[in-house]
Amino acid sequence: MSDELLSEEFEETPTPTGPLGGSSPQQNFVSRYGSKAGGALGPVITTIFAFLMAGIAVAVVGKNPLKVYRSIFDGTGLNFFAHFGSYSIRLPFSTQHVWFWWDTSSIAAMNLQQTLLITTPIILTAVALGFAFRCGLFNIGGQGQYLVGAYFAVWIGTSFVNLNPFLHVLACLVIGSLAGAFYAGIAGLLKATVGAHEVITTIMLNWTAIWVGEWLFGQQGPLQNTSQPAIPISNTIADGAKLPIFWGPKLLQGLSIGIFISVGMLVVYWVVINRTTLGFEVRAVGFNPEAARYGGVSVARNYFLAMAISGLFAGLAGALDITGWEYQIGQLDIPVSQVGFIGLAAALLGRNTAVGIGFASLLFGALINGTSGRQLDPSVFSPDLAGNLTTIIQGLVILFVGLNLTTLVSGGVFRRRRRAT
């Protein structure tokens, strides 16, 4: 009821501040996507619905959806948790072994490593979007900030080769994050000073980042590798700049400790949003900028800070990917990377709560890994088709998570309008 009143109030006071028509619609979307109302039920129904619709698409090309989904699920490695037994693992930094109830060297375990590897940056880009969202800003530029973070991590990682390994990897992560923060900060600053709509500026910044990256790592580009001038790819970062791998083979994309940094950032996100003055102000601005202004909160300052912090998370995602498993960046990978947008879907599905983002990111990470060419058996379902299926599911999730499906089914949306007339 209160949401309804607020959004109606906004109808009455058009305040055109930005090129897309000002800050008002955020009122609507913060309450729609940010509230905990309905709990996990809405997102779960949305997910099931999206998978059902995608199942129809699978059936249309003459495959059995259940078989395909089963095969995708096996590829995700999530069945690892169903394989109980009596095993032992080595404690880090020692030669001791302790009892463990899952087999850490099974195929399922290796698949799970890949899933978690993909989940790592998704969590961070989702947190990035969620943070801006709480301030009423729609940071659609997670992709660009992710890329800029990755570029800087590659630059630092390939530059100071003789640095102390710990300092080197730390420098990669910190400078990558700061680069992302600076990049998003441009949009934040423009929003705070001249009211330029952050959606327009961040979309433009995304594409600027893509083309600048193609220039940096393309042939004769300044950061192209020094040994093979025909191949448009960067140098590999120094060994000291790589994150330690704690699970799985070191040479075959084992899981780095980046996942802990990523999950740690989820905790940081929760603490900052819910337990600090900064988080309180950000939420106040997101809930109602006018009221926050009357309450003595500087709206402009919070717009800038929220965007910069948001970019910090996205930049860290890029830096973690470089230092965690990619180690280099290729020109051809840049335009096809979608991590920022998958983070967007995860944030919306997780309703911008820390726990929700964690689970939603795992869902998308698992889906992407399960449908990838290296996990999915082509005789069951072509990985090329499955990749597009993932995109369709992602689209459906974003499309339907904004509708509160439960109220829609009971006719709530339409009934409310009739009552209002």
């Binding site: 109808e11 055109p16 930005g18 897309l20 327009i200 594409w207 369709i392 689209g395 509708l403």
Partner: protein, 409 residues
Amino acid sequence: MTALTGRIGHIDWRGPKVVGIVGIALGVLAFWIVLPPVTTRSPLLSILIGILAIFAGIWSVSRDEKRIGFGAVAAGLAGIFFGVLATYSSTTNLSAVVVWSSLIAATLRYATPLIYAAIGGLYCERSGVVNVALEGMLLTGAFFGIWTIIWAHSWAGSWAWVIGLTGAALAGMALATIHAVWSISLKVDQIITGTALNFLALGITGYIFIDKYGSSGTPGNITDYGIPDIHLNFLQNWYFIGPILGQLNLMIWLSWVLLIGTYFFVFRTPYGLRLRSVGEHPRAADTVGISVYKVRYVAVIASGGIAALGGAYLSIGFVHSFNENMTQGIGFIGLAALVFGKWRPMMTYAATLLFGFCSALADRLPTAYGDQWGTLFQALPYVLTIIAVAGLIGRSVGPAAAGRPYDKQ
């Protein structure tokens, strides 16, 4: 016509506006004289002309004509920069890149999908619905255009492109209908819906494309029955104009019809007034009896059809094949052009020409200077748009009600 002459009659020829425009022209001139066919080899002349442009700009800024004035200053600076840069380059390299007639023809080819996307976006956003799904609509048009043209080729022969265009437009309208229902009736955030539609379009077109054509790709003979070029043989011998206009695709001519039609529709007809009023102040429009929902539905669905035509031009008029995600940001450049052109048809068209010129130049530069500079030029449209919304060259402010769902009371 009388309105036009009336407006010309009121121009103050020594006013700051005219001086500013002259400044911009001087800035362009500063660059132009160092290029073929003139090819001045001394940087001095373009520096002098550039400085004149800057002074003209400063003069008109001081007389409160900020937008055009700063534009002239920027043009002067750019003229000096690029002018001096060009004099350092060899004449052979310059003449390899700068062949005006082919550059302009390429500009038109690159600008055409942009103008369809931007005009589509113009209808949508003028009605108060933000459309970031232009990219998806373009991609949908590109795929369904090629799908239907291949299907129609067996029975419609050389006229299959009509079916192709129709199919593309219908598919685009179908996608736009989702956007309309979600953002107008269900009142979901329009940007989120747009983002979702971009994904849906990417996934669905890629899915059907892989299923239908797989690894072999679309058939190679579409060149024979794609959207035809218009051959104007009598123009062939005209100096300069002949090579540009003599052999343009039908869709380029149609884009000009669409552009002029849009200008008159939006600013000279009662329907256009209704469209704009719904985008600026829906409650007021509702009060005088305009159905806000109806206008918005029509505008959004039309927007999808128009943007899809641009996609169809891309796939069956220009490159004659389809690939997954073949639009690669063209829809977003179209959106950028719309913002850059301040939601006005003619200025938007100028922006698409500028952005198209960037692409054309990016295409030509590698012939002499290597790949990497061409790549940077691809980023220019986006950077220019950021500068535009930042207000450095006149602030870009869109329709007041864009982005807000309307609640009928």
